[in-house]
Subunit: 137 residues, 2 copies
Amino acid sequence: METQDLKKAGLKATVPRMKILALLEENKVRHVSAEDVYKALLESGEDLSLATVYRVLTQFEQAGLVTRHHFEGGHSVFELNQGEHHDHILCVKCGRVDEFVDKVIEERQQKIAAEKGYNMTDHSLYIFGICSACQKD
Amino acid sequence: METQDLKKAGLKATVPRMKILALLEENKVRHVSAEDVYKALLESGEDLSLATVYRVLTQFEQAGLVTRHHFEGGHSVFELNQGEHHDHILCVKCGRVDEFVDKVIEERQQKIAAEKGYNMTDHSLYIFGICSACQKD
DNA sequence: TAAGTTAATGAGAATCGTTCGCATTTAGTG
DNA sequence: CACTAAATGCGAACGATTCTCATTAACTTA
Ligand SMILES: [Mn+2]
Ligand SMILES: [Mn+2]
Ligand SMILES: [Zn+2]
Ligand SMILES: [Zn+2]
């Protein structure tokens, strides 16, 4: 249950945190914005503040529970950390998001960082395109 | 001169556009924000509006003259299109930006898009790390 | 080169996602 | 159950960007 996950992450098990974590763990939603989380919880009868959603998601990010993505469009989207690191490919027409893992790219990035004298800490890779469904238009 | 470049791009050769393009073509600044451009021009004695800088940079982007990047931090940065496409590696401490071209990664992206059924239109790749100078801290 | 047409500009208001300040509530502890 | 620090809700504030609209400047044509 969420209480344990939160404690493990060094966070007090408050109601808003548990609700938000429970929502993410349902896995019905992935790549959600703070607004998405807020609305989903409101609709399911919870009463909480948008500011809290932002705060909690940021705390979850810092605790390593979620990853924040900057899919274009000026707002952050979050996803629960589960399974291995992956990157994303997005449809610029319908907003569909697919995930992929590519060992070759991961290694190349390490090599490039090393060549440039950087100590690599992170990376962000998005491929944009038209998904198969949207190509039939 | 800038007049020709603008005409070629299908844009009226107005004063603000020429000043902005001239600034970018000086090549003393790369990866600049709209605010950077605005301040630089103010300091060099030009008088123009920040709204115009935003408008012009967006037009330049649409005309293919500049590329817009979303280096983390909630604001866009622009760079003049010259030479080949490249990606970026950024220092998370000092903000230094280096550029690189990697054929292997480019090809892999194409392959991934194809596998996922996407018609790839674009991609964005940023590597983050600590630059060699900042590692000595 | 002056007049006309249309697009571009300047100034500031508006927008949008996100953060902040502060009074109030709550979780964890003994 | 009382205590203390931390978390929350609310609304104001924020920063980057866009918009509105009156004014001005670029191309066109005569
Ligand atoms: Mn994902
Ligand atoms: Mn560059
Ligand atoms: Zn699509
Ligand atoms: Zn550095």
